[in-house]
């Protein structure tokens, strides 16, 4: 057992936070248990499923495989930080539009991975997207609609960058 504690300064979803936690605390535990951000889920204990994926300094990482201490001085973004106020992120809108989720448990991880992908890649081919999703296990969707969601998110992102397309939030209503 290990009683030592560490102080961690990090920003989570744009907010600066200082926490003191046992040094063995995982980033996923820091988010869920210490900060109460339960949108990030944990689906395995061997770093395979990707359900716990968040962003750390702009990289999509599996938060169950990173010690909270490693996130010191980092900027972490979770599913709770994807939207801008009431405006949902393109991947959030796309996952709903394309039925990219069923039970919703892997969805936060899937979306953080997808959001990272569309920020860094513009390749809309199925093959490229399926390769990019390799770090994710989803048991409900058969991935088909997750792939379509990523393609749709790329399209939404492009529209958002075009000034005429402002104010399309009605896509997610109902």
């Amino acid at each position: 057992m290990n009683d030592s504690k560490v102080t961690i300064n990090l920003s989570v979803n744009g907010q600066d936070t200082t926490v003191r936690v046992p040094s063995r605390t995982l980033l996923s535990e820091l988010l869920r248990d210490t900060l109460g951000l339960t949108g990030t889920h944990v689906g395995c204990d061997t770093s395979q499923c990707g359900v716990c994926t968040v962003w750390m300094d702009g990289l999509a990482v599996k938060s169950c495989t990173i010690l909270a201490a490693q996130a010191d001085q980092s900027a972490v973004v979770t599913v709770e930080g994807l939207a801008r106020g009431i405006t949902l992120h393109p991947v959030q809108r796309a996952f709903q539009a394309e039925h990219g989720l069923q039970c919703g448990f892997c969805t936060p991880g899937a979306m953080m991975l997808a959001a990272w992908y569309i920020q860094h890649h513009h390749e809309t081919s199925e093959t490229a997207i399926r390769e990019a999703l390799d770090g994710l296990i989803c048991r409900c969707t058969g991935y088909e609609n997750i792939v379509r969601s990523v393609q749709r998110a790329l399209a939404f992102q492009q529209e958002d960058e075009t000034p005429v397309a402002a104010g399309r939030e009605e896509e997610v209503s109902s």
Partner: protein, 786 residues
């Protein structure tokens, strides 16, 4: 009735919270003063427990209490099985929540630690000293029947959990048939792996005796029913809540020791207690699926007419009988082994066998994938034997449209269908003729492509309660619905179904919106709470829309009925003169005078001026028991390539043509098909639980158990036909399991087609590269492809 939303791809209402990380899954919940439980599990497949020493664990920091089997056994009932198939000679063996003097599988619960934080609970597990005396173990169901094999239970001296026979006498047909084909099949054990691990959080109020249990369950009312008995808590004092549940696939039907123990500790310590399994625990402690050895025989003519089919099955039950376990390889399997074909004679004989493995229960499809696999595979074996195209063979034997309702050899009545239509649509979509040509052309270049079919039917929408009773299911299978219209005309809809990914918050909303003319955004569908929903039987067996939707339609019609009487009073016309359409009540021919359902509802609540004899308020409940199961069907086709140098199978195309009756939300239906297909392909090509000779699960993590990944698949193609079922008011059939049921044999048939020139007739799943490569090598050694 106008149908504005029926058939529309309405975006799912549950997504609004789920895409924002605001779902409420069991493990997300934190209660003041909450403690954490961890469970010590047996590392042995079979052992006597000589002694358990918890003294050191008890002294660990943060540890509140350590429980062993002998401490709880007088205070807790055993874990029950709730399916007792008649004439199965079922051996009801005791299953204590914590092992007392013997463990029978790796993962069986041996001790429970409750501590202040989860780390402390986990650490204390390592300080519990258990003195085990290992015993010989057996994991294979056929070997377990040998007289020299270790025995698990005194009550089952031969390890036989059940022996069940069903069907007609097929001996005469077989002895006189021109063609008889025989094949043995292995349907390997699978691990359900919903992405959310199981979890339980239980709070007990010692003053009132009220207990609230947040559980990862597909059927909260069944959990309340069973746990009430095990814990000795009156049913009205136990509230089970399953808010957001992260997938189930059958593995969250069963009542488990883990949640019972968590509840026991919460009551004993008078503090909330939470337990959440790790994925590693899930692999050994959550029920598994399938695990059959099957011997199949088919008798037919040289011209391709099937005369009889006969199945003998050895089904692995695991070490104990899980909640629905005994019903899966019997009722849900044996009664439909003739599949979608008009076969006059059929029989099934099943041995359910105890082994030193994790208990086996329902896994997506539960029995019906196993039955479908057998008939679809043996049809291809037969086709090859008589030199006929498998499509032609299917066309000859499929039940014809005019034969419905069709009574199969087991007395099951198939509702409706046009099986040939789905086959024709599949052939047209794929351009089968050119696919065959392509296959031949590639073969000349020593490239191996295969096309495999599965023309399936399944029995789902469980089901009429009378039948449930007749087949030994220890519960009803009807469903309840309540529609509560508030004074402002907004609606709360309560359903006894308990969706966990299937989207009924949306589809049920669509049903109510259409029937009552209320906007979808004014309707909330509530499920998964035994205090809010009076009773229900939950979500499994593709039953929710067929049965729960049926109850909802009935309730909505009753709302309209009552509202019509009040509307007539408001309009000052006789009730018989009131027309109703889309939320509007009006005198015949005078739509401009219409009063809306919201106005009527307000009047019903105010009660100032109601017609004589009409009660105030606007809330009705309906309990709906279907007249029969529903029988979705279709044609699935897989196109694969096999690399002869590596044995790698690549899925090139996958087409699913399904008929689940009219689709309320085609987008959701399609999503169900996608997920089901990928799970079924998982069985064909990737997944398999492997036990070693000592009963250790060697495929016990995502590193060792191959889950399907996105890059393994091409784009999935789907098509639908719509044949309504006469068995429920909506005409719908279940669709949650069709993909899993149909896809496994389609893919295996495709691989066998690709390997046909190597003379390979059958290989055991999963069809991994080494297995396929080895089969090719064996063929090459005998002279190579024909």
């Amino acid at each position: 009735m106008s149908r504005k939303l029926w058939g529309e791809n309405v975006a799912r209402r549950e997504d609004i919270r789920l895409v924002q990380g605001q779902g409420q899954f069991t493990d997300d919940r934190v209660l003041p003063g909450m403690l954490y439980a961890a469970i010590l599990r047996s590392p042995h497949a079979h052992a006597k427990i000589r002694q358990i020493d918890v003294a050191s664990a008890q002294k660990m920091p943060g540890v509140i209490k350590v429980y062993t089997g002998s401490m709880v056994s007088g205070h807790l009932g055993t874990i029950p099985t709730a399916w007792i198939p008649p004439d199965s000679q079922l051996k009801m063996v005791p299953h204590p929540p914590l092992a007392v003097d013997r463990v029978r599988y790796v993962g069986e619960a041996v001790a429970l630690v409750v501590a202040q934080d989860p780390y402390q609970a986990e650490e204390a597990l390592y300080r519990i000293l258990v003195d085990y005396e290992p015993l010989p173990a057996i994991s294979d169901p056929v070997q377990a029947l040998e007289s020299s094999s270790p025995r698990l239970h005194e009550e089952a001296p031969e390890n036989v959990a059940l022996h069940w026979k069903v069907g007609t006498d097929t001996d005469e047909v077989f002895s006189g048939a021109d063609v008889v084909v025989r094949q043995t099949f292995r349907q390997q054990r699978l691990i359900p792996n919903p992405m959310e691990p199981r979890s339980a959080l239980v709070q007990y109020n010692s003053a009132t005796g009220d207990m609230t249990a947040w559980l990862t369950t597909q059927n909260p009312h069944i959990h309340r029913f069973l746990m009430s008995g095990i814990l000795g808590i009156p049913e009205h004092k136990l509230r089970v809540i399953a808010q957001d549940v992260g997938g189930g696939f059958g593995s969250k039907i069963a009542c488990y020791a883990d949640e019972v123990l968590t509840a026991f500790a919460a009551r004993d310590l008078m503090r909330p207690v939470k337990w959440t399994e790790s994925r590693s625990e899930h692999f050994v402690a959550t029920t598994h699926g399938r695990d059959h050895y099957d011997e199949v025989e088919l008798a037919g003519t040289k011209a391709g007419r099937v005369l009889a089919v006969r199945v003998k099955t050895y089904a692995n039950m695991g070490a104990y009988l899980s909640t629905a376990g005994p019903g899966v390889p019997t009722i849900l399997f044996g009664l439909i082994v003739n599949g979608a074909y008009d076969i006059a004679q059929a029989s099934a004989e099943v041995y359910g066998v105890f082994t030193n493995t994790t208990p086996v229960d329902a896994y997506r499809g539960a029995g019906r994938p196993e039955a479908t696999f057998l008939i679809e595979r043996i049809m291809d074996v037969y086709a090859r034997e008589i030199g006929m195209d498998p499509v032609e063979l299917r066309r000859i034997n499929l039940i014809k449209k005019e034969q419905f309702p069709y009574t199969n050899p087991f007395g099951i009545v198939y509702d409706s269908g046009d099986y040939h239509q789905t086959l024709d649509l599949a052939l047209k979509t794929l351009d089968y003729a050119s696919l065959r040509q392509e296959r031949e052309a590639l073969r000349r270049q020593h490239k191996y492509m295969g096309v495999g079919f599965s023309t399936y039917v399944e029995m789902c929408g469980l089901g009429p309660s009378q039948v449930a009773g007749a087949v030994g299911f220890q519960g009803g299978l009807w469903e309840s619905a309540t529609i509560r219209l508030h004074p402002t005309g907004k609606a709360t809809v309560l359903t006894g179904a308990s969706p966990h990914g299937q989207g009924e918050e949306t589809t049920f909303g669509q049903i109510v919106a259409d029937r009552l003319g209320i906007p979808l955004e004014d309707i909330d569908v509530v499920h998964g709470d035994t205090d809010r929903v009076s009773m229900g039987w939950g979500t499994y067996g593709s039953r929710s829309t067929a049965v729960g939707g049926g109850a909802l339609a009935k309730a909505a019609d009753r709302i309209v009925e009552k509202a019509k009487i009040i509307a007539a009073h408001m309009l000052e016309v006789p009730v018989g003169a009131v027309q109703y359409d889309a939320g509007q009540f009006y005198p015949e021919g005078s739509r401009e005078r219409a009063v809306g359902i919201q106005d009527v509802t307000l009047q019903a609540h105010l009660g100032w001026n109601l017609p004589e004899g009409v009660e105030p308020g606007m809330e009705v409940s309906a309990f709906y028991d279907p007249t029969n199961f529903t029988y979705p069907f279709g044609t699935h086709v897989a196109v694969v390539s096999v690399d002869p140098d590596t044995g790698e199978v690549k899925l090139l195309r996958y087409l699913a043509v399904d008929d689940c009756g009219p689709a309320i939300n085609p987008m959701i239906v399609e999503g169900q098909v996608h997920g089901g297909v990928v799970q079924g392909v998982g069985q064909a090509l990737y997944e398999g639980a492997v036990y070693d000779g000592d009963g250790q699960l060697v495929s016990g993590s995502f590193m060792d158990y191959a889950m399907p990944k996105a890059r393994f698949f091409p784009r999935l193609e789907t098509q639908r036909t719509e044949t309504p079922s006469p068995h429920n008011p909506l005409g719908v059939k279940g669709v949650g399991e069709t993909g899993t049921i149909a896809s496994t044999p389609a893919v295996v048939n495709a691989v066998m087609d690709a390997l046909s020139s190597f003379g390979v007739v059958n290989l055991d799943m999963p069809l991994t590269p080494p297995k396929v490569w080895q089969a090719i090598q064996t063929s090459m050694a005998k002279g190579g492809p024909s």
